[in-house]
Structure formats: structure tokens, C-alpha cells
Symmetry: C3
Subunit: 260 residues, 3 copies
């Protein structure tokens, strides 16, 4: 008898659909150490998906917040003294308590200090590094390609997700390419930052971090496609995007997901 292998990663759309239900059922707490531009939108994205966000950047209390959270996001979008101090405490707490944490090294290609700080953080064991191609090139000192991403992931024992028209996700062994999303997503500030926060939430309800990341990216991209249908521009799109996340149905996720 001749059998046909299923296409690679054909189980990811179902996981993405399940993930949406898991987030609503378990309501994970996600602490976001993120930039001032992104805080409000990120909190609303997490709330729409059923999660509970917290946002303090104060060194004195961030340990308590992270210690009580199910996932942590560290986003370098506004890199200042206060956030840098808080990052050290937040990451130490997450590591000690085995709380998954995601590094989103925003604009690491714009200033060398930021790149140096990001490299130091990669060394502290984020479960996921999520960035765009220009940021990957600055961090890894080589252009983003499936091979470069997989090698970086392997070398740093992290999942790496590089966003673009097609998102690439690798843990060094597996690579998935996700083609969902919409051009309007690049016209809304903090869209990527909020995506990283949602993936952090996914990492708290799925034990395989590569699969959790791919599923989170699928959810995010599908919500973007649904939102674009009735949008008149980037602001009505952003409103529709959050609404779509809050009402996302398994059927739509499975039908629209594009992953290879």
C-alpha cells in the first residue's frame, strides 16, 4: 500500500483555532515590559483575545507582577534607563520561575546601544526572539534567510520568528512559513509589538514553543485578513482588528490559515 505524507505543518491551523479557545478559557496573565507607544494597543489586543495584561515598568514592583504572570514580553521599543533596570529584574524572575518570555528587539537596527543590549538579552534565554528582517540582520549580523534564522535559533536555543510578508518561524530544526496578514497591518503603530504580546500569551498555554509561536502568528494574520474586509483605512482597520480577535471563530482560522 502506498501512503501519502500529510503536507508539512498541516496540524498548525487546528492548533491556532484551539489556541484561541485556550486563551479565552485560561485567561493567561501577560506582563508586558513594552514601549510607551505600544502599551495601550497591546493591552487592548490581549484583552480582546481573553488575556489579562499588566504593564508596569517600575523596578520596585515588576518582580511581583512577573512572578504572578503566565508569560512575559520584553519589547525594546522605548529603551530608557528605567525600562532597562526593570528588564533585568523581569527576566531574572521569569527564568527562576520558568515563565516563558519573549524578546522583541524593536529598531535594533537603528542604534548600536540597543543592538548590544538586545544581544545581552538573547544570551539570557528568551523562549522566542521575534523581529523583522532588518532587525534580524542587525542582531545576527547576516541577512535573514530560512537557513540563517534556523542557525541563529539553534545557536541561541530560542525559537526565532522573523516577520514580513511571509513570517518565518524556526526552532533550529523545524521551519514554518506563514503567509497570512494584510498590508494595512504595517500602517498601524505597535501592531507587531502587540503580536509579540499575543504570542507570549500562546506560549503560556502550549508547551511546544515553536508550535505556539506559529499558531499565534496564524491567529494574528487571520484576524488581520478579516479586519481588512470592511476597513476604510488604517484606523478603522485597527478597530476592526481588535473586534475580529475578540470574536475569532475556529472555522475561519482553519479556512484562512496559510502555512507551509
Amino acid at each position: 500500500m502506498h501512503t501519502v505524507d500529510p503536507p508539512p505543518h498541516s496540524d498548525l491551523p487546528q492548533l491556532a483555532a484551539d489556541m484561541s479557545g485556550r486563551l479565552r478559557a485560561r485567561r493567561p496573565r501577560v506582563h508586558c515590559l513594552t514601549n510607551a507607544v505600544a502599551q495601550n494597543f497591546t493591552a487592548n489586543v490581549l484583552l480582546a483575545a481573553g488575556c489579562v495584561p499588566s504593564m508596569t515598568i517600575s523596578s520596585e514592583e515588576i518582580g511581583h507582577f512577573v512572578g504572578g504572570a503566565n508569560a512575559l514580553l520584553v519589547n525594546l521599543g522605548t529603551f530608557d534607563q528605567e525600562r532597562r533596570e526593570a528588564t533585568g529584574i523581569a527576566v531574572a524572575t521569569a527564568s527562576q520561575k520558568n515563565i516563558p518570555w519573549v524578546l522583541d528587539p524593536v529598531f535594533v537596527d537603528r542604534a548600536p546601544q540597543r543592538a548590544a543590549f538586545a544581544r545581552e538579552l538573547v544570551g539570557r534565554g528568551p523562549i522566542l526572539v521575534r523581529l523583522n528582517a532588518a532587525e534580524f540582520a542587525a542582531l545576527a549580523e547576516r541577512p535573514a534567510s530560512p537557513q540563517a534564522i534556523a542557525e541563529y535559533a539553534l545557536a541561541h536555543k530560542s525559537v526565532v520568528a522573523v516577520s514580513g510578508e511571509t513570517d518565518l518561524v524556526s526552532d533550529g530544526k523545524r521551519v514554518a512559513a506563514i503567509a497570512n496578514g494584510h498590508p494595512l497591518m504595517a500602517r498601524v503603530t505597535a501592531m507587531g509589538c502587540a503580536g509579540s504580546a499575543l504570542i507570549a500569551a500562546c506560549l503560556s498555554v502550549e508547551s511546544d514553543p515553536w508550535r505556539a509561536t506559529a499558531a499565534g502568528l496564524l491567529l494574528f494574520g487571520v484576524a488581520g485578513e478579516l479586519a481588512a474586509r470592511g476597513a476604510n483605512g488604517p484606523a478603522s482597520f485597527a478597530v476592526a482588528f481588535i473586534d475580529a480577535l475578540s470574536t475569532l471563530e475556529a472555522g475561519a482560522v482553519i479556512q484562512l490559515a496559510q502555512v507551509t
Copy 2:
């Protein structure tokens, strides 16, 4: 002749309807020492209701801003060194000039340092402490019940408003229960923070702080019910909520208000 007592607090819906007009006519200045997540939404809520928001957190100038304001909100949502210093100056200025100030001790149940700071602030005489049941329990070290709230209000000579499906407001002698609002309000970040800012504005145009607080909660809850009618999710709800506040009519407030 037999007379029937009016139901308790039957005059509050009318006050709430009046309040909306008073805010538009007097345009009170409300200084908000609030968290970074809430600043933009809070400012837009105040503007929609006819008020003039200011938001600086700088110690050097907050005294001037509070001194020229009609009400002050102190929200602990992002508790950092800079905001803590500014709080001392803001509260001292408000006390000295008899400017009503509201304490919103966000997430006081999450970190002991925050609870300690909030207790210190309660001792400095806010006209209103506004919080949810978990925050009340952390602050008062007992569960929120009508009796506990009334006793806490009496002991601290402040009005206390505990938010939830039904909001409870007490000044130690009177208790009102307000059943307005909509579940989508809990899905929009900073909704509660913005509500506290609106109540601060109400306190500047009504001399009985218990009545002002109840009226502000009624206004806020009614706007939420009106906004939910056409909303597709939390983001279109948030847009409709601000629009509803800006166009709220006395008739709708009186018709929808649910207070006992």
C-alpha cells in the same frame, strides 16, 4: 392621609442628567496623574464629556497644573519613582487649595509596595477612593461587602466606590448600588481609570461628594449601555463609548439609570 416614601436615591438619575450639562457648561480642568496605558483614553473621555484634561507627571511643574485645576486624579496604574514624587506634590497642592482629589489604587492587590503606598495616600484625605473588589480586599484587608465599604468610608472620611457588575458607593452613612454598565467595559483597557477621571470632574461641579460619585458612575454606565448597542467587539465599543459620552442626553440618562 397615607404618603409613600420615594424609593431611596430616586433623585440621583436627575442629578446624573444635570451633571452632564454642568460639565459641558463649566468645562472643569482635571489634572490626571495616571498610568501611561490610560493617559490617551482618559484624556479623550474627559474631552468627550466637555472637560479639559492635563496629564503632566513632572514634579517640577505638577504643582502649577494641579493648582490651576478643578479636580485631581491619582491613579497608581504605573507606579514609578517619577510618578511617586509627583504624587506627593500634587496631593499637597490639592489639599492646600481644597481641590477635590480621587485615589484609584489600580492593581494594589498585585504588589505589597503598591498597597503600602496606597494606604499612605488614603491617609492624606482623598475625597473618593475608587477601586474594584480585589483591590478593596487588598487595601482594607477584608472582603468588599456593603458593610465593609461603609465602615472603610467612615473610618477614612472618604467616599468609597467599589466597581463591579453592580457598583457600590458609600460615604459611611449612605450606600447606593448602581447596576448600569456593560460587560464590554471590562474588555477595554483603562476604562475604569477613565471612569475615575470623569468622577473627579463630577466632584468639581457638585458639592456633595457621595452624590457626585454616584452620578458620575451612572453617566459612565449609561454611556456604556448605549455604546454596546451597535458594537462589534471591544474596539468599536470603545469608539462608540466616547461618542456616546459626547452626545449623552438627559432623557436617556434618566430612562436607563438603575440605582437603589
Copy 3:
């Protein structure tokens, strides 16, 4: 033969229409040192118009961000120690690299420290000072009138734009009055701040700063008029405003522009 002079500034509507295309084609990078209330809305306004915003306020890296930008906005809306330090570096970098920078001295009428700091900044050569009449009066120590504005512009070798129902723009020699806009613009927080950021972008794609400023104000006002058409209140207006900016057509700009 008798010829008729064209009305003054009759070429500005066409420039405004062109400007919209230039921004989309050249995608200028605009660094915004702005207040926490305005950051998100400002970034979304710039993205809608085709620009690339950055927002860091960290002294350590702002030099790199400004050095790589095409324009700089300095907005004093939340005036704190960190932003003040960053301002010095940002302005020095802009001056050294001939990057146009705009000063928006928000609320300079509310606190004397802020006015003093703003005066110091005016002395450092912003290409444009953009403010409202109350702020002008505080800064210039005389009421805003066409003559006062022109004299201030001449004395400080900057373009001065004073916003109001009619915006006035002068470089000391020329004065334009722009009557576009809509009352709902004053009901959305950070609308003015975002306008200053958009004008900063215009200054990077048009070498005559007075004309660039007038064109930016026209674009902004026309987008406001278009957005108001279907708005139910300030929040749906703000959404429609960003959508309108992203789809603004030359024909509408030329048809609606009101400049004398």
C-alpha cells in the same frame, strides 16, 4: 491689456495636494520627542500619511535616531527630566546635520518653568514654532495678532504657526490664513501634536519652510473636514481622520482648501 493678480497664496492648495504625494513617495523618517499622551496617535497619523515615525526619548540613543531621520518634532506636552535631557541632544544633532526641527510648546501658558525652557529652545533655531494663541501669548508676552506673529517670526528667524479657528502662518514677511478644519479636532487629544508632526514631515520634502507649513496645515484641516462628514462624535471622528489622511486625494485638497 489688463491683467488681474492671482489671489495671494493661490498656489498653496496645489502644493498641499502635491505634498501628500511626496510624503507617500519619499516616506520621510520623522523622529518625535513628544508627550506620552500623544505618542500613539502621532505615530498613527504619520503612518497614515506615508511617513515612518520613531519615538524614543532615551538620551543614549536619541542622537542615532535623529541623525537618521528627515525631520524632528520637539513637543513639550509632558515635560520631564528625561525628555529635557533628550531634547538637548536631539536639537544639537538636528542643527549639526541640518535636519529641520519643529517646536510645539504645549501648555507653555500653564507653568513658568515650561515657558522658560521653551524660550531657550526658540533660541536654538527651530525651523517652525507651532502653538495656539494662549501659548503664543505666554511665550511672546503679547497677544497673538497677525502683526505680533510676523514680528516674532522675524525676530527669531523661525516660521510661526498659530492654530485656532483660522490658522495663521508667518515667516516674518509672508502671512497666510488657513480656514480649514472642524470643531471636532479640538475634542480629540493630541490632534494638534500630531499636526505638528505631520508638518515636520512636510518640512523634509519642501525647501520653503513657510510654504511647507501652510501646505501641512491645509492637508490636516482638509482631512478633518472630510472625517467630520460621517462622524458620530470625537472617537469615530478620530478614526475617520486617520483613514482620510491615508486616502487623501489631490482633487479634494484643492477643492476644499481655504487659504488667504
